[in-house]
């Protein structure tokens, strides 16, 4: 490949070129921040410059960022973190006593009593202890060992770390990782980056995106022909699909993992985001242990959680953790080495996580406000989940499964053949063509289903349910109108 001339000066050949670079990196894509978002940012710039458009703002319903959409932070968390940032505020009488106590406790656990000091790579010990206690409480008393807790820079960091550890082998022995389709594209991006083999198992759209063991088995058997399947990833509650797995389903998955000797990765970052009646979050850890020692002593697993979702929505703090179960001690030693390379997770994120797992108690001054705020966020989300499903299902050509949990809807859109042809002409995947049009005409930024994976011949988009209720109603209305227009245009 010839080198590009820059400013008329020709190069004698760069060291780092498309040919010489890590080929895996070239395969990495991440739709959530991909081309459609780049176009959205460009349009925002144009609006700022005064360019006239059929809309006055771009609504970015592409990314699961609650605060970006106007959700307010939890007062208690921000007060404690402010005191941790500037401890002189501990003298300020405007802050409640429980806020001060928490801040003091966190600061005492930090080197030099500062959130600016490094922590150990695994994370501040007393915070890991608090996380372990939270897990025990959540899981009905099943013990959690702080040594099995690894704090991380958001859940994504921990997910990638475990994958880095597990992906090995060459050729037919290369590690295969099972991921749900549709999936959160961090997984496919990480697998591409690591050169792992991606094994797709399809969620059942006709059954509310549920997980089907027969489908897992099909995918696994087919994969065995060309790789070494070792890992099974589940997102529960699901992203982008929002399904909340039943307890039975979780048991079936664990049984399957044991039979097939698979390492389970349970992404549970939306564990507080459960809305639908009859749905309940069951942690994989809890179900595993309730299945008895035959399973709980053998199945190897990592569960992930973060401070970015649920009712906190604190994406910008990059707080998270993973709990590892039944990991070989020698492998754990290697894991410590791996996490030490980046020194430690951000300490403000660790502090925030501590507050999330250790919220105000009923007898504490901040409790009332905390509960009000928490309840408001979760009930608003539940309402928006219902509204979204309801409105989308009134649109001919859009079918929407119930948004049982998480923060997204992933409706199926029927596209006229003419639209599909037009898309192909333009070199675009049909749902990208659809979403681009919606962006240009209505200033609404969604992510095409192709970015998450879908069954061949089906099209979807992912929209977050995060905009404030009034705005969401407008967005849903606009999408409805757009869809009818679009269908009309290409009929």
């Amino acid at each position: 490949m010839s080198q590009q001339a820059v400013n008329g000066i020709s190069h004698r050949g760069r060291v780092l070129t498309l040919d010489s670079m890590n080929p895996n990196v070239k395969r990495v894509e991440y739709a959530v921040r991909g081309p459609i978002v780049q176009r959205a940012v460009q349009i925002e710039k144009e609006l700022k410059e005064g360019v006239k458009k059929p809309f006055t703002e771009v609504i970015k319903a592409n990314i699961g960022d609650a605060h970006a959409m106007g959700q307010k932070p939890i007062t208690f968390f921000r007060q404690v973190l402010a005191l941790c940032s500037y401890p002189a505020l501990l003298e300020d009488s405007k802050f409640p006593e429980d806020v001060k106590k928490r801040a003091q406790r966190i600061l005492e656990a930090c080197g030099g009593h500062s959130i600016g000091a490094y922590s150990t790579s695994q994370g501040i010990e007393c915070i890991r202890q608090d996380v372990a206690r939270y897990i025990e409480k959540r899981d009905g008393g099943i013990p959690s060992n702080p040594d099995n807790i690894y704090l991380s820079t958001g859940a994504s960091d921990a997910i990638v770390t475990i994958l880095k550890l597990l992906v090995c082998g060459e050729g037919r022995d290369r590690t295969g990782v099972m991921i749900s389709i549709p999936q959160y594209p961090l997984y496919s991006a990480a697998l591409a980056d690591l050169g792992a083999v991606q094994i797709n198992y399809y969620l059942d759209e006709d059954n509310c995106w549920s997980l089907n063991i027969a489908e897992l088995r099909r995918a696994l058997n087919a994969a065995r022909e060309h790789c070494n399947p070792r890992v099974l990833c589940i997102i529960n509650p699901g992203n982008p699909t929002g399904q909340v797995q039943s307890r039975q389903c979780i048991e079936d998955v664990i049984r399957f993992a044991k039979e097939e000797h698979l390492f389970l990765m349970a992404d549970e970052v939306y564990q507080d985001n459960v809305y639908a009646e009859g749905c309940q979050f069951h942690s994989f850890k809890k179900v595993l242990f309730e299945m008895g020692p035959e399973y709980s002593n053998t199945v190897e697993m990592a569960s992930f959680h973060s401070t970015s979702k649920c009712y906190m929505g604190e994406c910008g703090f990059r707080g998270g953790y993973m709990e590892v179960i039944n990991l070989d001690p020698e492998v754990k030693a290697q894991l410590i080495k791996l996490v030490s390379v980046r020194l430690c997770p951000p300490v403000p994120g660790q502090a925030l996580l501590d507050l999330v797992v250790n919220p105000p108690q009923p007898d504490e001054p901040s409790y009332a406000t905390f509960m009000t705020e928490r309840t408001a966020v979760l009930s608003t989300l539940a309402e928006k989940a219902r509204l979204t499903e309801q409105i989308f299902n009134t649109v001919p050509g859009i079918t929407c499964n119930p948004v049982q949990g998480a923060m997204y809807t992933f409706p199926c859109i029927t596209l006229p053949q003419k639209a599909i042809d037009k898309a192909k002409e333009l070199g675009l995947v049909p749902d990208m063509f659809y979403c681009m049009r919606l962006l240009e005409e209505d200033g609404i930024c969604l992510v095409p289903g192709s970015g998450f994976g879908q069954r061949e011949g089906t099209y979807h988009f992912r929209m977050t349910i995060l905009p404030p209720t009034d705005k969401l109603k407008v967005v849903l209305q606009k999408i409805r109108e757009f869809h009818l227009r679009f269908t009309q245009e290409f009929s």
Partner: protein, 494 residues
């Protein structure tokens, strides 16, 4: 399906593996075993015991193992922390207890955050206004040489950036394997990254006799040694040094750039300690500036990645995890992929990004916070200048202990002349000789330092590394304990 058992050779012993998944990324095993892990655990155990009231010859452990200013007792900058607090809890913006410029600055920072909250994601490469601020800072620092925002990526700490760039450089499918030239002594985290990615390290030795100077002959020798072993594509430089406390002269920087140009090497330059320069006649000159001033053919062709962060210098905000890389002369097609790669990592913690902004755009004369800011910076500087002098004095006054003048950086890396008896004892205990010294120093003297073995050194030489950024009284106490311990140790093993 039957579980796959694996035989793996560990520490020379054959270990039969059980059903559990032990088959992991083979590069993990290659990552150098960190003896310091045991040392760190011991330090924590001693700290716990002291907390529980166990009697020891000292009341607290002086932890100077890492380059952690706050951990060693240095204070954060007031302006930085006030702005961060107001960003975290915006009602403080209306509080008269904070100076006006703090409140205005916090408002400005929040205005750049999506939804006005530090809890939102930012653009993957960083908040655009802050990226711009960094480019202006670089331009100012480099005498007006332009810096382009689209070449700057903010990341959760410099190691994150370095790993990302290495990830792009290291082609695992290539044969022979990708090689990276590394200085000895080196910063061990970067070397761990290189190994974890499956690349080969090609050491070049800094000259201890010449105050750890980087010599081009030695670069040449190292490159030759790689023939037939690996394909070196990159040259990793740390300036000012870590752990070696040198500051490269402009001439030295030019020589390295010329070498990289001649031998077609990608330059990875860690400039985290650019604010830590003490030596007389020493000045930090950035690789970017030097490259640009060298003009064609160098300025338009040598591929360069320079790294900086909020962890060192005057801020010392290691725990916030924020740094940046500036990329120069990279292939635009490759830059696109670097952009996608950074997008899957979400974004750098917002508080860290704000700290980066405050570092690159600090209070100016006339601002209400300026006097205090200036005072705090000067105090830190005075402490460091004092400490490096004292360390040099004390170490060189002790028998069997020596170190060159510390020109820059945050560490002392003195040389230990251990007696054969001491070396023998270490062998008996299964420890590297300098690890043995550090272990004893920790147990008996309550000072937590790092063994030279962790950072690389010429065969048969021994060193220890410790951070010199501690309050003066802590440093004096450290030197007192170190002297006392050292004399006893040397006597015991004479």
């Amino acid at each position: 399906m039957a579980a796959r058992g694996l035989d793996l050779i560990l520490h020379g012993a054959q270990v039969k593996l059980c059903d559990k998944l032990k088959d992991i990324n083979s590069n993990m095993w290659n990552m150098k075993q960190l003896e310091y892990g045991a040392l760190a655990r011991r330090a924590n155990r001693i700290k716990d015991e002291l907390r529980q009231g166990v009697r020891k010859p000292y009341k607290e452990v002086i932890d100077v193992f890492q380059g952690d200013l706050h951990g060693a007792g240095m204070k954060p900058l007031t302006f930085v922390r006030q702005v961060l607090a107001a960003c975290v809890y915006p009602p403080l913006i209306n509080s008269n207890n904070l100076p006006l410029d703090v409140r205005q600055r916090a408002q400005e920072e929040l205005g750049r955050c999506v939804g006005g909250s530090v809890g939102s994601y930012s653009a993957a490469a960083g908040i655009p206004e802050i990226v711009h601020s960094i480019s202006e800072f670089i331009k100012r620092r480099d005498g007006g040489i332009p810096s382009h925002p689209e070449n700057i990526y903010i990341s959760p700490g410099s190691q994150w950036s370095i790993s990302n760039i290495l990830n792009v450089l290291v082609n695992r499918e290539a044969s022979p394997r990708t090689g990276v030239l590394i200085p000895v002594p080196f910063y061990n985290k970067t070397v761990l990254s290189i190994t974890q990615l499956g690349a080969v390290t090609v050491p070049y030795y800094l000259s201890e006799e010449q105050g750890w100077a980087l010599q081009v002959d030695e670069l040449q020798r190292a490159l030759e040694s790689a023939k037939g072993v690996c394909n070196p594509v990159a040259l990793y430089v740390i300036n000012p040094g870590n752990p070696a406390g040198y500051v490269q002269s402009q001439k030295s920087v030019q020589e390295v750039i010329r070498f990289a140009w001649e031998k077609r090497l990608f330059l990875l330059v860690d400039e985290l300690y650019q604010d830590c320069v003490y030596g007389e006649n020493c000045e930090f000159v950035s690789y970017k500036r030097t490259l640009s001033e060298m003009g064609p053919p160098f300025s338009g062709t040598v591929e360069l990645a320079s790294f900086h962060s909020v962890s060192k210098g005057f801020l010392g905000e290691c725990g916030l995890r924020a740094g940046y890389v500036e990329l120069v002369n990279l292939d635009p097609a490759v830059m696109k992929h670097i952009h996608t790669l950074s997008s899957k990592d979400s974004c750098t913690p917002i508080l860290g990004q704000i700290a980066l902004d405050l570092m690159t755009d600090p209070p100016k004369p006339g601002d209400p916070s300026y006097p205090l800011y200036k005072q705090e910076i000067e105090h830190i500087r005075a402490v460091l200048v004092h400490n490096v002098k004292r360390v040099h004095e004390v170490i060189n006054s002790l028998p069997g202990f020596s170190c060159p003048p510390l020109e820059g950086g945050l560490f002392a890396f003195p040389r230990l002349n251990l007696t054969p008896k001491a070396i023998q004892k270490a062998k008996e205990l299964g420890l590297q000789p300098d690890t043995f010294y550090c272990t004893r120093l920790l147990e008996e003297g309550g000072v937590f330092t790092g063994p030279g073995w962790e950072y690389g050194q010429k065969e048969g030489t021994y060193h220890i590394r410790f951070c010199i950024a501690a309050p003066q009284d802590v440093m004096e106490e450290l030197l007192r304990r170190l002297s006392s311990f050292h004399m006893t140790f040397m006597k015991d093993f004479s």
